[in-house]
Amino acid sequence: MTIERSDVESIARLARLALSAEEMPQYVEGLARILGMVEQLKRADTAGVAPMAHPLPGQRARLRTDAVTEADQHELYQRNAPQVRSGLYLVPRVVE
């Protein structure tokens, strides 16, 4: 498995992670090792095998009825927010 620095840079962009130039070699090597180990999966004959959809046979994720069950607690929730004004989450300007 060959992983290039440019591959890791593009994966980091997709994952929204700002990696520094100094830490890049560590991730190139780590990803190469992990994906190299994963190559073992090629040994398995999976022709005609349906991919597993749920760990319990016959189970599906349940859907709840489309009804309001939560009370409005935005003040409580926003206590954890980095920046809030007038009940709104603040982020850098998106549209100039």
Binding site: L17, A61, Q73, P92
Partner: protein, 486 residues
Amino acid sequence: MTDLHLATVAQLSAQLQSGGVSSVELTRMLLARIEQHQRELNAFITVSAESALQEAARADERRRAGTAGPLTGIPIAHKDIFCTRGEKTTCGSRMLADFVSPYDATVVERLRAAGTVMLGKTNMDEFAMGSSNETSYFGPVRNPWNTSRVPGGSSGGSAVAVAARLAPAATATDTGGSIRQPAALCGVTGIKPTYGRVSRYGMIAFASSLDQGGLITQSAEDAALLLAEMAGFDARDSTSVEMPVPDYAAALEQPLKGLKIGVLREFFEGLDASIEPLIRAALALLHAQGAVIKEVSLPHLPLSVPTYYVVAPAECSSNLARFDGVRYGHRCEAPRDLTDLYERSRAQGFGAEVKRRIMVGTYVLSAGYYDAYYLKAQQVRELISRDFEQAFHEVDVLAGPTTPTAAFELGAKTHDPVTMYLNDIYTIGANLAGLPAISVPCGFVGGLPAGLQLIGPHFSEGRLLNVAHRYQRETDWHQRLPKGFV
């Protein structure tokens, strides 16, 4: 009883009931022990002394009022992955270092309703990603059997809290072995229930098709008492299974005569030569109680680790996308624009192992690679699951070691992620197939504990606890104490 910190949950329950001790006395004594050993072991991220004493006082009032249950007043610790209302819930990460949960996880809520007292939140690998507790933002946890060794992970703090008798029991979670592996390395009992048995609501998500909440305790009997309160349907978790919870405690004494135990051939490959005789001796003991032992083979099991390291990172990359520095969690200083805010908040908030897994997951899910990695892994996962299903046509329970080696030195495996991942080689299979599994102490290698693992069919927790209990009735490995923590 003078050494109350050594007592099991079952013994403490009797003591509280008879009035031999109050919950406040018990809580105060354990808080002092936690403080005494915190610097050396680092088992806790948060100690909630004040609220614990208030809860204990309320438990004692309930006791006086005659409305107490068997767990009322029992102090326990929660892994810091479970949300606790009004308390910090960090998940071992800088990302959530200051996060105060606005609500309780269902597990916390149920154990609170049963009257347990929360001593604090235990240390863990960051976002439960690790097998040594070395990825915690709050520093590594140390193994009380030898403080230069790791306790295992990711529930290292919970395992150490119980092993050093700082808490009689602790909650934990298991995605690829995070309950059983640290339980084995610390000489305590750890149960991972069936996928869907315990609610995941308020349990910070890592890999949602694998994560399951469970327990670390001194004994299978204690696990039975606590699991009965934790387990059961919860409408707030869409994967929670609607099925009644059996009386685990009532089934503990069931005789083992005729029980068919399958010994997993694949679990003896790569096993430390000094652990194998301990496992064989444990099997001989179960055989002497009437169990039938036969060897079984699960041909696809050796592919568990590569399968897991596609599925788990894929799900982690998706689950951890929510940490964007906007609504909660770490935010970087002076972001230039929204992309910069995301990228630097995430880069600063997550540690190296979490970033590595997010990137592996992003890669295997990216356009053009999905079929070769994720789809292929889910197909192999199906094959592994079928292997287990086949085996359970022949035997009732599968047995083998929990880990390939005893606890290793801190720092010994941090240089190479793949070497670290291989610690979970025997535990991952049960997660991939959604099966319940338990680890019980079965002896020592060079002064360090080893674990016997039992894996059962879906929803066979009662059977596993029964076999583990019968084993613990005949052995005292689970009662041994690390020197210096007596």
